[in-house]
């Protein structure tokens, strides 16, 4: 089977979706002629023409606002925000418009659009190229929020997102674009070409929204993670020698409660890991859910490992990033509790 990087898989997903449905259009800053600063849309304009893939002015609110109008017309826009850190100008259009259009119009108008954006740190991007704002979307009724962790899922989830009839926020952990990154920044990164999850089938397939995947089976403790943190958690478990079950949530909302609860009820312990700042991060929701649903099975406090409650620093990247050492310590603490 062909191996692809995550960038290639994402591009492939758009390509497939655009081929199957004339109504799929792609635009964003530097997305057209140039193919995107991360090259995710490279070649799409050439292939589909500039009515289907084109450059947008530097206006995130304009991009999403126009997409809402296009979606109401009947298109399926899949737009790119250059970095998640730049989505705030579009936040009003996402929250007040896309998310509520179906509801407030009683289904007369809908907003089947996808907003793609690279998230997360690990590239010395500092405050404005490192953020993980997923919790700002999971709090909003009407949105779905997706975070793939590998090329196979990225393609399947993105096609599913484009085909979904509701607005989907698609967060792409940029540290994973070229290979699975386990937080060991001092070691060379394995390219996707040498990783089984780099195997990406040609053509159309979907990974359903709302279904988690168990990446590592175990019985000692459940680790809930998504994006880059899936690999960090796997590495941490292996290195700490802990029998952890690592769950890759893939979709944050709607979340896969069944898989989560089954695992925690089995293990009796739970560690939640994300890059975003701790307070009011999505980890809080997961912690609350686990506690509400598994209370009588819990043998230790549900523990969160997350970005510190500071802006994302530049030089202190690896002090900030919740790497395998920190996750490993949490795993051990939970096992000993």
């Amino acid at each position: 089977m062909p191996r692809k990087t995550m960038v290639e898989a994402i591009r492939d997903a758009m390509d497939v979706a655009m081929q199957r449905d004339d109504n799929v259009v792609v635009f964003g800053e530097d997305v057209g002629y140039f193919g995107g600063v991360f090259r995710c849309t490279q070649g799409l304009q050439q292939k589909f023409g500039s009515s289907r893939c084109f450059d947008a002015p530097i206006s995130e609110s304009g991009i999403v606002g126009a997409a809402v109008g296009m979606a109401a017309y009947g298109l399926r826009p899949c737009v790119e925000i250059q970095f998640a850190d730049y989505m705030y100008p579009a936040y009003d259009q996402i929250v007040s418009e896309a998310a509520r259009l179906r509801y407030r119009s009683n289904g007369q108008f809908t907003a089947p659009l996808v907003v793609r954006m690279p998230t997360g740190g690990g590239i010395f991007g500092g405050q404005t190229h490192s953020q993980s704002p997923e919790a700002l979307f999971t709090h909003v009724a009407g949105l779905k929020t997706v975070v793939p962790s590998n090329p196979y899922d990225a393609k399947g989830l993105l096609i599913a997102a484009i085909e979904d009839n509701d607005p989907v926020i698609f967060l792409e952990p940029k540290r994973l674009y070229n290979g699975p990154f386990d937080g060991h920044h001092d070691r060379p990164v394995t390219p996707w070409a040498r990783h089984p999850q780099g195997e990406v089938p040609d053509g159309h397939y979907t990974v359903p929204l709302g279904k988690a995947a168990i990446r590592r089976e175990g019985s000692g403790v459940t680790v809930l993670a998504y994006g880059t943190m899936v690999f960090v958690a796997e590495a941490a478990a292996t290195e700490a020698g802990i029998d952890a079950e690592v769950i890759d949530l893939r979709t944050l909302v709607p979340y896969d409660l069944e898989t989560i609860v089954a695992s925690v009820n089995k293990t009796g312990r739970c560690v939640i890991v994300h890059e975003a700042t701790l307070t009011s991060g999505f980890g809080a929701e997961l912690s609350a859910l686990v506690q509400e649903n598994c209370f009588y099975h819990l043998e230790a406090p549900v523990t969160r490992v997350a970005g510190w409650d500071t802006p994302y620093p530049h030089a202190q990247e690896w002090d900030y990033f919740p790497g395998p050492a920190r996750v490993g310590r949490a795993l051990k603490a939970v096992m000993e509790a």
Binding site: V25, S51, R52, A56, P57, S59, S61, G62, G65, A66, A67, V68, G69, M70, A72, Y73, G74, L75, P89, D92, Q93, S96, E97, L101, R102, Y103, R104, S105, N106, G107, Q108, F109, T110, A141, G142, K144, D164, N165, D166, G210, V253, P254, Y255, L257
Partner: protein
């Protein structure tokens, strides 16, 4: 460095204020008003640079003698004008009744159009089926003039069992895809750029339908106004960008939003978008200018900005009392008159209408509104009678209800 500069004194802070406040005598003598028939009518494919001056004039058709004059006159038949009059009268009667219903506690909130009826009623008649408006809460004339059933509007206003929005949306925040009326948001300006997006989509699909965005004078200050102009100008989107300048936001006069600019229409000039201003209380002028702008869009010539100069005679909404911030008599002093009266007089002048027929029409229109209202009230009002269910509240957040919402609905016992 500063050798050539004289020593300037301290700076001072400037906050624009209206010339007259409550207690004062309204004075609109500084409002520059073009004479009816005076402003030229360029071809629709005119180069934007050649009509920059139009952003500073006011296109008017009806003169003081109720005659239709000048190059923008002559587009509408007697019957079309009579229809227009009826639409405006209906909207006015509708507003009066619903305003009262709000005071009687039958709904939570109402927003009326008093004095601005011509803008949405006349614009609607310049569109073709399939075109899409992205309106604010003050364009119900688009629905009335498009024969959307008053009953449906009332059902929504009452949030009753037949509310087409199932009780989820505020009163007056209508939506009708079929009638080319996009769901009103309630957040100002957001829909202006959506109109542009819709129009872009139509062009991308090589369709023939066009879009119209709507915004108030105060709301032009919002950021999405800019996004709309940027996208419309970059992609030459087939959209009419309407600015309804009714002189007031809530308590702030247009100077707070307009600042040092000559006019709101002039905002279009910085984008190379043709910009016209029109007497918003002149049904014929509004319609003629709307036609011009719609034709530009339809012929793929791109966007047009249109500023409707009008006056908000009533309160901003049922929660507002304008006597706190402007003279009570200000609306009487407004130099562009009343749109209903002006069209009525024109029709009389044309010989197809009379005071008697007008009085009779008023009674008929009011009777129709009251009949619809009675009918609507049999289906409930906000606090009494049948109403949308708690189940309706949980539906429609997504196409399919996700598990967590299903659990919540169960928890809610419905």
């Amino acid at each position: 460095m500063s050798q050539s500069m004289s020593e300037p004194g301290p700076l001072s802070f400037h906050v624009p204020a209206p010339a007259v406040r409550p207690g004062g005598t309204p004075d609109f003598s500084d409002v520059k008003i073009s004479r009816a028939g005076e402003v030229r009518r360029p071809d629709v494919d005119v180069a934007p640079e050649e009509i920059r001056d139009l952003a500073f004039q006011i296109i008017r058709v009806l003169d003081r003698n109720s005659e239709a004059v000048g190059p923008w006159a002559g587009l509408l038949s007697d019957q079309e004008l009579l229809d227009g009059l009826r639409h405006m009268m209906t909207l006015r009667a509708f507003d009066a009744r619903m305003q009262m219903a709000q005071r009687q506690g039958k709904t939570s909130f109402y927003m009326q159009h008093l004095g601005e009826e011509a803008v949405s009623c006349a614009f609607r008649k310049a569109l073709e089926p399939g075109d899409m408006n992205f309106p604010t809460y003050r364009q119900a004339g688009l629905l009335i003039a498009g024969d959307y059933p008053m009953l449906d509007m009332m059902n929504q206003i009452y949030s009753n069992e037949l509310d087409p929005m199932k009780g989820r949306q505020l009163p007056v925040m209508y939506s009708s895809r079929e009638h080319g009326f996009f769901s009103i948001s309630g957040n100002l300006a957001t829909q202006y750029i959506q109109a542009v997006g819709w129009a872009m989509a139509s062009a991308m699909k090589r369709d023939t339908r066009i879009a119209a965005g709507w915004i108030g004078d105060g709301s032009t200050a919002e950021s999405d106004f800019h996004a709309a102009l940027v996208f419309a100008s970059t992609y030459k989107a087939p959209v009419v960008l309407n600015i309804v300048n009714n002189q007031w936001a809530i308590s702030t006069f247009q100077g707070i939003a307009r600042g040092g600019a000559g006019t709101f229409a002039a905002r279009g000039l910085g984008f190379g978008i043709p910009a016209l201003r029109v007497d918003g209380n002149d049904y014929l002028a509004v319609h003629a200018v709307a036609r011009w702008a719609v034709e530009r869009a339809r012929r793929n010539l791109g966007p047009t900005v249109v500023e409707y100069v009008t006056y908000r005679v009533g309160a901003h909404s049922s929660s507002d009392d304008p006597s706190a911030y402007r003279p009570k008599t200000e609306s009487d002093a407004w130099p562009l008159g009343d749109p209903v009266l002006r069209l009525k007089n024109h029709l009389i002048h044309r010989g197809v209408w009379s005071e008697d027929r007008h009085k009779q029409a008023e009674a008929e229109v009011m009777a129709a509104v009251i009949a619809a209202q009675k009918e609507a009230e049999t289906h409930g009002t906000l606090h009494t009678g049948p109403h949308p269910s708690a189940r309706d509240m949980f539906e429609g957040v997504y196409e399919q209800m996700p598990p967590h919402l299903r659990r919540q609905r169960q928890q809610g016992g419905v």
